[in-house]
């Protein structure tokens, strides 16, 4: 398989139709255009066209001071806003040569995992509607509500958290947080187990998803796919384990993998990762040291020394990286984002070939791409 951008050819046979899926379609989390050449219901060629909501964020960042960029990183993808804050702060901290305090590191891991929880919950929910399972969507959104409330209690906002700071975090845990979190998460754990049972044991669901949209480890690495879609192919690739950052070294967790690389495995990985994230959060709450949650002196006007840095973390959707070049002024000289959703989006057309129109919904949703991040 070659992975050059393929141009779709116009239909030659009378049985072939060119179908434009998008830029407005109920399947999509955001606008993109998927051109399909179909013969009957079988997909012969597929081409993905992006750029409908391009925001030019990287260029915008070059014209903002380091602190001004911080809230904007939320807007790269609203489901991963916490991770985006975190990866940006890690980059700038490395440029500045400072380290977050111990408590701040635990708080960041905690919010990162909560962020992963809510992203996975909504991802599975949207995916469930796409295979016609509306009830599961509503259950998932209901469970997500508790997680979002937990995030809101720490960060003060539900979507764009803007929580991490250079060398620390914005604020400490509210009083009584641990009990509240353990109660919500215990309930969530039970619910997720029952939802997993409800989905995985359903024969219609299995027939819809097993062996559909199979991604092999080789293709995945060629296309740059990371995160749950890669782990679903059996590759144990998780930056939290491969290149431990913050306090992931001190925490006990499994890297969830599945072997088939199909739609079923990708969703299964997410479901199991939810349970694993809950376990990580419980450890964080137990082990969290007391102490300051931020540096004594937070530099408001940040002028890092000239240099360059590439910081990366395990986003809910894969590997999120930011490449920052500093020229010693208060604004970055060059800013580049390596988003996980972009890689998963470009893996979509090859997966669709030979499948049915009905598989588009299942495959696209199981990749859990995010148009806002693709078109950042």
């Amino acid at each position: 398989m070659t992975h050059e951008a393929t141009q779709i050819t116009s239909p030659t046979k009378p049985s072939e139709i060119l179908l434009h899926l998008g830029p407005q379609h109920p399947l999509q989390p955001g606008p993109f255009l998927l051109d399909l050449k179909i013969e009957g219901e079988t997909i012969r060629e597929a081409e993905l066209k992006i750029g409908y909501i391009h925001k030019g964020m990287e260029k915008v960042f070059e014209d903002r001071t380091y602190l001004q960029i911080l809230p904007l990183t939320d807007r790269i993808c609203y489901l991963a806003s916490n991770s985006n804050n975190d990866v940006y702060c890690r980059g700038v901290e490395e440029l500045l040569g400072i380290e977050p305090t111990d408590r701040a590191m635990y708080l960041r891991v905690l919010t990162n995992e909560l962020c992963r929880l809510q992203s996975h919950l909504l991802g599975i929910g949207e995916y469930a509607t796409d295979v016609g399972f509306l009830t599961m969507f509503i259950y998932m959104v209901r469970e997500r509500e508790g997680v979002v409330s937990l995030l809101e209690a720490i960060t003060g906002s539900r979507l764009n958290h803007n929580y991490a700071r250079f060398g620390g975090v914005a604020n400490d845990l509210p009083p009584g947080y641990k009990e509240m979190a353990l109660k919500t998460l215990g309930e969530l754990k039970k619910q997720i187990k029952s939802h997993d049972e409800m989905m995985s044991s359903d024969s219609i669901y299995q027939r819809r998803t097993k062996g559909v949209g199979v991604l092999t480890p080789k293709e995945a690495s060629e296309l740059g796919v990371a995160g749950p879609p890669l782990r679903a192919t059996g590759v144990e690739y998780d930056l939290r384990r491969m290149e431990p950052y913050l306090v992931y070294d001190d925490l006990d967790f499994k890297v969830i993998t599945q072997n088939d690389g199909d739609v079923f495995s990708r969703v299964k990985v997410r479901l199991l990762e939810i349970l694993e994230s809950i376990y990580i959060i419980e450890q964080c709450l137990d082990q969290m040291p007391s102490g300051p949650y931020k540096q004594d002196v937070t530099p408001y006007i940040t002028r890092p020394k000239a240099g360059e840095v590439y910081a990366r973390i395990e986003d809910p959707r894969g590997e999120m990286g930011m490449y920052i070049i500093s020229d010693g002024s208060d604004k970055p000289y060059r800013f580049r984002i390596r988003g996980p959703a972009f890689a998963t989006a470009q893996a979509l057309p090859p997966l669709l070939l030979g499948g049915y129109v009905a598989d588009v919904a299942a495959i696209a949703a199981s990749m859990d791409s995010c148009t806002s991040e693709v078109d950042r």
């Binding site: 179908l19 109920p26 219901e41 399972f133 009830t135 259950y139 219609i204 049915y356 009905a358 919904a361």
Partner: protein
């Protein structure tokens, strides 16, 4: 209950004395169509409310008090006042005709549905607009008209999504009308009649759901596919084909198309009730209490509707090729097996 008995008898004497007079059929037809129309409205409301409960939502709760009973009126006003769009490239007559055909097929089916069977002054009278000797065959034939509606809409809209949905619907219907027909034949064989009234009367001792459970399962699954409900709603799978064959419709035309589907679901519930669930034959649990047959019919119809809604809440959607597979490779052999079974039982029974 004595008062019901009196009222029913009184009404029936008026109607029965003129059972075949044209005006009485007209009145009865109007009443029955109104009743089934109302039934479809009830189903839409039930679906929203019941589905809401099952999905831990509230459902309609603003228009018409806490339970949102007037939500449908609000929806109807909205649909009536919306702009009626006919796409420039659409085939106008096919496009306009499709919802009408869909609704007509639903209403034609209503004509032979009996609600009760009354014994008055030594005669039996079926409470139906029209009693035919071959009413079950007629029902099957008329319900097939609905395929034309979806294909007309799909082709006439000149939209690719609509065309795909039209193709899907035709493929699905061809596969599922066959097991549906075979199950109806099994029932007819067991009851020794094609007349629905006699089929129901044949169930006075034992309902056909008990006599041929396999037939009931096959019939119910095929019926789900026939009325296009989850897990067989591929023709309007939102995430694949937007709104399927109704993609290009707007305003009241869309309303009619939407309503025709519910009408088919209601009539489908009636058919299940009549040919498998014993129709107006009550359960012995009520003892000597007199309950008019029509109440049994309506209660059973509502239970079947609830079953439709429950299935919708509990299952995801099949892929279209799997649907066709199930139709041809699973349901038809099972339906044939059931035909053999019911023939043997039917022979022994008499």
């Amino acid at each position: 209950m004595a008062i019901f008995e009196t009222i029913m008898n009184y009404l029936v004497i008026i109607f029965a004395s003129n059972q075949f007079a044209p005006w009485i059929r007209g009145v009865l037809g109007g009443l029955v169509i109104g009743a089934v129309f109302g039934g479809a409205l009830v189903m839409v409301y039930l679906e929203r409310k019941f589905l809401g409960d099952m999905q831990s939502r509230i459902g309609p709760n603003r228009v018409g008090g806490r339970f949102g009973v007037l939500q449908l009126i609000a929806d109807a006003i909205k649909l009536f006042t919306k702009e009626d769009i006919i796409p420039a490239k659409a085939d106008k007559w096919l496009f306009v005709g499709a919802p009408i055909v869909a609704l007509t097929s639903g209403f034609l089916m209503v004509a032979v549905i009996p609600f009760d069977y009354l014994y008055i002054n030594g005669n039996y009278y079926a409470v139906a607009v029209s009693r035919m000797d071959i009413s079950i065959l007629y029902l099957e034939a008329v319900s097939g008209l609905a395929i034309f509606a979806t294909f007309m809409a799909g082709w006439g809209s000149s939209s690719k999504y609509s065309v795909l949905a039209g193709f899907r619907n035709v493929a699905k219907m061809i596969g599922y009308e066959v097991p549906l027909g075979i199950c109806i034949i099994s029932v007819a064989v067991m009851a020794h009649s094609l007349d629905i009234v006699e089929i129901v009367e044949a169930q006075s001792s034992i309902w056909f759901i008990i006599a041929q459970p396999l037939g009931f399962v096959v019939f119910f699954i095929a019926l789900l596919a026939d009325v296009g409900r989850i897990p067989f709603d591929q023709t309007e799978a939102e995430e694949e084909l937007i709104a399927g064959w109704a993609t290009e419709y707007s305003g009241m035309r869309w309303g009619l198309a939407f309503f025709a589907e519910y009408l088919h679901a209601v009539v489908g519930s009636f058919i299940v009730t009549l040919i498998f669930l014993g129709g107006w034959n009550g359960l012995p649990i009520v003892g000597n209490l007199y309950i008019p047959g029509i109440f049994w019919v309506i209660a059973k119809v509502i239970i079947v509707m609830m079953l439709f809604i429950w299935i919708r809440a509990a299952l995801p959607r099949y892929r279209i090729d799997q649907v066709i597979d199930i139709g041809w490779k699973v349901l038809i052999p099972l339906a044939l097996l059931n035909l053999v079974w019911s023939t043997i039982i039917g022979l022994i029974w008499t």
